[in-house]
């Protein structure tokens, strides 16, 4: 190869990456990004950097390098300027493409396969989200460490240099700090050794104790195991999940789901042709005792295995690293057929096109969707920042927030990052938003009608309409609308005791607000609007200090309109709690109900003269 061609060979996949994901490079922050961007606030509050870096968060995950350190360092350097974050993701992905090319080339001995593998990987729909979302950097970074470890393993096999063995270990260990998926690397290394380098089998076994210890520690420190949509199911549903992922990986099915205008038969027929081609090639190679095909297919299965039990949370970006195996297999198949007769060349090019064209179509559509959603989020967050500058002492109400904007731009509380703490959805907004259990509770973000009307009448609130090219101050119109629709005496069915707007709902015994919460003494009370249906429950959230459980569980007794519930036993100290109670059917439609609270003991800190019972946050009926 001439130097220019050689350079083009290595750079072409990266240029394609930029071309395909150009919008991803410009995509702003969204969803979980805001939770990670807020880590610095937690660090400021607690000063415990080790807890911020290593404590389990978000479904019990611990990803210090790809999430905690990434966001902490970049926020410190660049704040809410998204471009450097995106560039870091792209730079890592460019390194991945070079590594994949090098690894495939070494495995197959084919330059064509080395060129095609990163291209096949790039166009896959699985990459749309990681290439458009900073919170999915864990996938890109884990792929980097996995490919680097494998590259080092190959180099060690070929050269015998110990440096490569050490680098493989370092990559493996570093990968564990990027994503839990890295825990399967020893299985991949063993598979590689069995298929292609039997002399390495013993060496790879040393990685298993590390992986098992990591998995055990991870399981142990996760507070309450996976729950909700992250609950794991080990049954026949695994095969169903595998089949879904397989179809997504081949692209045609996902294209038919995301984009419109395609004939219905195309997706199943396309999937069948691609499956037959890929599996047929692998079977043919295996029949000829070429175990490399087994390794490539095994890569897909092994790396996908940890997420298969999450049948209620199938996500196409979980395929990011597994499809590397299929990309290598597909690239090898095309490269082999290009060496054969002309009809095989035509068939392989047609099959490759049947994968690339639909995949690219779906990937581009998904990338544009992420970009446009994030653009709406940027307009919202920066608009709220401006509104807060203009009205620093007023709370901000937002109207016109739709489902997508809420879940991508508000549920992860981005406004604290621009200093605006009192930002709520206008009353009634919850009607436009679908509840998504596990992701947040919409009513926690909505200011109830009574407090909203009071704030408007007292000129303590401004209202902005969301949805256009910029936020529009509609306070004057909204004030009239609010008077028309609500009464100031209407009792909210949600009370945030740490917010002064709800002070009228509280009884006399509560202590003063501290930050975003309040202490109760031995007894406290409050009132709420009654439930609108008999299925609704009363939810209470708070925080139990360690002092209160030092002598055993703390008894919290709740009464609703005189009805006394069996006491709740709080056993964990220095921990948040949430409890819920069914409500008597006769309370349905009542304009006001009284809630009573009592704890069986209080304590008095040395620096405080108050008797303290428990800390509370919110009470809501929903």
């Amino acid at each position: 190869m001439k130097p220019a061609i050689r350079a083009a060979y290595w750079v072409l996949p990266s240029l394609l990456c930029l071309g395909i994901y150009w919008l991803g490079l410009k995509t702003w922050f969204w969803q979980d990004d805001f939770a990670w961007l807020s880590l610095h606030l937690r660090l400021k509050q607690t000063g415990q950097w080790w807890a911020v870096l290593f404590a389990p968060m978000a479904q019990g995950t611990i990803r210090p390098l790809s999430e905690r350190a990434f966001f902490l360092v970049f926020y410190e350097l660049f704040g809410l300027n998204a471009a450097p974050y995106r560039m870091m993701v792209f730079a890592t992905q460019c390194a991945n493409l070079v590594l994949l090319s090098a690894v495939t080339r070494r495995f197959t001995g084919s330059s064509v396969a080395g060129l095609l593998a990163p291209i096949f990987w790039l166009v896959n729909i699985a990459l749309a989200r990681p290439m458009s979302w900073n919170s999915a950097y864990n996938q890109i970074l884990c792929a980097f460490f996995m490919l680097l470890a494998l590259y080092c393993a190959l180099r060690h096999q070929q050269t015998g240099h110990k440096w490569f063995a050490a680098a493989e270990w370092i990559s493996f260990l570093a990968g564990l700090s990027a994503l839990e998926t890295m825990v399967v690397y020893p299985v991949l290394a063993l598979l590689h050794a069995f298929c292609l380098a039997r002399q390495r089998v013993a060496k790879t076994l040393w990685m298993f104790p590390v992986a098992i210890t990591y998995a055990a520690v991870h399981w142990y420190v996760t507070p309450e195991g996976p729950s909700g949509q992250y609950r794991m199911h080990f049954d026949a549903g695994l095969l169903s999940s595998l089949w879904t992922y397989w179809q997504w990986a081949l692209g045609v099915m996902r294209m038919a789901e995301i984009t419109t205008g395609w004939p219905r038969w195309l997706a199943p027929v396309g999937t069948a042709i691609l499956s037959a081609s890929l599996l047929g090639f692998a079977a043919w190679k295996l029949l000829h005792k070429n175990w490399l095909a087994g390794f490539f297919l095994g890569w897909f299965l092994v790396v996908l295995a940890p997420v298969l039990p999450l049948r209620e949370h199938l996500s196409e970006y979980y395929l990011t690293i597994p499809v590397v195996g299929l990309s290598m297999l597909g690239a090898w198949a095309v490269a082999e057929s290009l060496r054969g007769r002309w009809r095989w060349k035509v068939v392989s090019i047609a099959v490759a096109a049947a994968y690339v064209v639909p995949s690219l179509s779906a990937t581009r559509a998904a990338t544009r969707w992420y970009y446009e959603n994030a653009l709406g989020v940027r307009t919202l967050v920066r608009g709220v920042a401006r509104a807060h500058q203009l009205h620093p002492d007023k709370l901000i109400l937002l109207t016109g927030v739709n489902d997508d904007l809420f879940w991508t731009g508000i549920a992860d509380r981005p406004f604290r990052l621009v200093g605006a703490k009192d930002v709520y959805l206008a009353p009634g907004s919850e009607g436009n938003i679908t509840e998504r259990p596990g992701l947040g509770i919409v009513s926690d973000f909505v200011l109830p009608p009574g407090p909203a009307l009071r704030a408007l009448e007292e000129d303590r609130a401004v209202v902005y309409a969301v949805g256009g090219l910029r936020l529009v101050n509609v306070t004057a119109a909204y004030r009239i609308l609010a008077r028309q629709r609500w009464s100031p005496s209407e009792e909210p069915r949600h009370v945030d005791v740490g917010n002064p707007l709800f002070a009228k709902q509280l009884g006399l015994t509560w202590h003063q607000i501290e930050g975003a919460y309040r202490w109760m003494p031995r007894r406290a009370s409050l009132h709420l609007g009654g439930p609108s249906s008999p299925n609704e429950l009363l939810y209470i959230s708070g925080y139990c200090p360690a002092e209160q459980v030092r002598d055993g569980p703390l008894k919290l007794t709740v009464t609703v309109e005189g009805h006394v519930y069996p006491p709740v036993l709080l056993k964990r100290g220095n921990a948040p709690f949430e409890v819920s109670f069914p409500l008597p059917p006769n309370l349905v439609g009542k304009p006001r109900i009284e809630i009573g609270l009592e704890v069986d003991r209080t304590f008095m800190p040395s620096s405080d003269s108050r008797n303290l019972g428990l800390v509370f946050g919110t009470f809501s009926i929903r």
Partner: protein, 181 residues
Amino acid sequence: MKKQIRNLFILDVLVAGLVLFVACKHRSAKPEVEATDEHGQTLMSAVHVADPRAAVQLTKGFYDVEQNAWRWTMKQFSVVLRAPEGASKNGATLQMKFSVPNPVIDKLKAITLSVSVNGQALPAETYTRPGEYILKRDVPREVFHGEAVNVDFALDKAMPPSGADLRELGIVVNTVGLEPK
């Protein structure tokens, strides 16, 4: 090849370093802001549903704007309108421009649209053909006892969510308003 890969990694690191350096220069203590429109008008007597300033008055049952011109509704939808001048003496005329799309009639055969203003029911109307319509109703003066009125619309049927569209779809609305008499 080892050399090439090493060179590319060095290039990658240099690019990342350059990005960090350049971006460091732009770190600002203040959050970036986007201008807001502080001159949102007050409540209107007539609204074009695609006007973002009017969105605040669409209180229930409207989907996002489509083609910068109209919105699909749900089975029930509501708007709040400012009472036009003299309405408490003379009453007003409610007027809504909307269309009943082909698929609605294909699927539901006929739909009946009911309307009430501040809780007072006005005569309903049934539509059996697709097309564009203007609903006009006299609103008696008795219902106007404040700066604004709630206008609630209800269809007897709506297209249920389907594979093509996961929304419940009613009719397509362009404008709603109250005109003085």
